[in-house]
């Protein structure tokens, strides 16, 4: 039994539980509604579009965690692919 575990790639179920919990608690603690991220996304697109041409479909915003172990705070990570800068920005 233990021998099988030695070679299997599957992580212990408690690690799966811990990871799932960490992620769900970030959302719980931030109290973020699903529409919130969508609203934020469209606002960001609107603001940045004044300065750069962006790939809207490639735009990705997610809630994740930042900080040291134990003192985890929610953080917003945005990945905004820029096609080209607008002349007005130069």
């Amino acid at each position: 039994m233990d021998l099988f575990k030695l070679f299997s790639k599957e992580p212990p179920s408690k690690d799966v539980a811990k990871e799932r919990l960490k992620l769900i608690l970030i959302h719980d603690r931030a109290n973020v509604s699903p529409t919130f991220l969508e609203m934020l996304k469209s606002d960001i697109i609107r603001v940045i579009s004044d300065y750069a041409e962006i790939d809207e479909r490639g735009l990705e915003i997610k809630l994740t965690k930042a900080g040291e172990e134990g003192m985890v705070t929610p953080a917003l990570i945005a990945n905004i692919p820029i096609r080209k800068m607008k002349d007005s920005a130069k």
Partner: protein
């Protein structure tokens, strides 16, 4: 002036009432004057855990409504002279009491007792608001399951929002064999996730069922592992430094070092 402690969890069935009964009894065994308060109006159970269900005449709602005096509703424990139960009503619901009334009641009890231990109902609604209203400290009970940990986190957030910063965690029903195999969240996992001070660990103990069957808290049984854990918790509440229970059946020696090496 005594201290009031609310025992809460969010999720139901994690052992709030068992914890309340045992901590209350253990503190009384240590010589403190204790009252345990059932705040789960409509679904009272603390009386059963203490074996006092046949002695109830008046209850918390009667006191709040002025039907009787506070002293009349208090029931003395069978075993300990310095332990009392304030039961709640079974035929009313949680809206029968307001948080302000509860706060006043707990203040009155604090004048008479060293410790007022309040058993909070499950959930985050009216019953929770009532139970925490008069509390100086909070004990959050959880079990090593994702749903219980999630709910505990939510409760901790609620407590902090209310300015109840003095809160500590009890991890109940931990199965050491399973944590050792990585099949159950261990203590470090849980304190890491919840970022709250640990008050105690209670091992999963089948004898608890027997204790509840008989209406005798586990702390009254010297052979009970869970009872020992609750006694340790009571001493920690009094400010004593008591080491946490060692992992049961922990392997030691040369062979285990090898095993641990391979497990990585």
């Amino acid at each position: 002036m005594g201290t009031s402690i609310v025992v809460t969890s969010g999720k139901g069935g994690v052992g709030k009432t068992t914890t309340t009964a045992n901590i209350g009894t253990a503190l009384a065994m240590l010589g403190k004057k204790v009252v345990v308060v059932d705040a789960d109006t409509g679904l009272r159970n603390l009386d059963l855990h203490l074996g006092l269900e046949n002695r109830i005449v008046y209850n918390l709602v009667d006191v709040v409504e002025g039907t009787c005096k506070l002293k009349q509703a208090l029931i003395k424990d069978k075993r300990l002279d310095n332990l009392f139960l304030l039961p709640t009503a079974q035929t009313k619901d949680k809206t029968a009491v307001t948080p302000e009334q509860m706060q006043e009641l707990v203040e009155n009890l604090k004048n008479e007792f060293d410790y007022v231990i309040i058993d909070c109902p499950a959930g985050i609604e009216h019953g929770f608001e009532n139970a925490v209203a008069g509390a100086d400290r909070a004990i959050v009970v959880t079990t090593p399951e994702v749903s219980a940990v999630r709910d505990a986190d939510r409760i901790i957030g609620k407590l902090e929002a209310k300015g109840l910063e003095d809160h500590q965690l009890i991890i109940n029903r931990i199965k050491f064999e399973m944590t050792k195999k990585g099949e159950m969240l261990n203590i470090d996992d849980m304190t890491d996730i919840l970022a709250i001070k640990l008050l105690g660990i209670v091992p999963d103990d089948e004898k608890i069922v027997i204790s509840t069957n008989r209406g005798e808290p586990a702390v009254t049984d010297p052979a009970s592992k869970a009872g020992q854990a609750y006694k340790n918790i009571a001493r920690r509440l009094l400010g004593e430094e008591v080491p946490f229970m060692e992992l049961e059946n922990e392997e030691s020696g040369f062979f285990s070092i090898f095993k641990k090496l391979f497990r990585r």
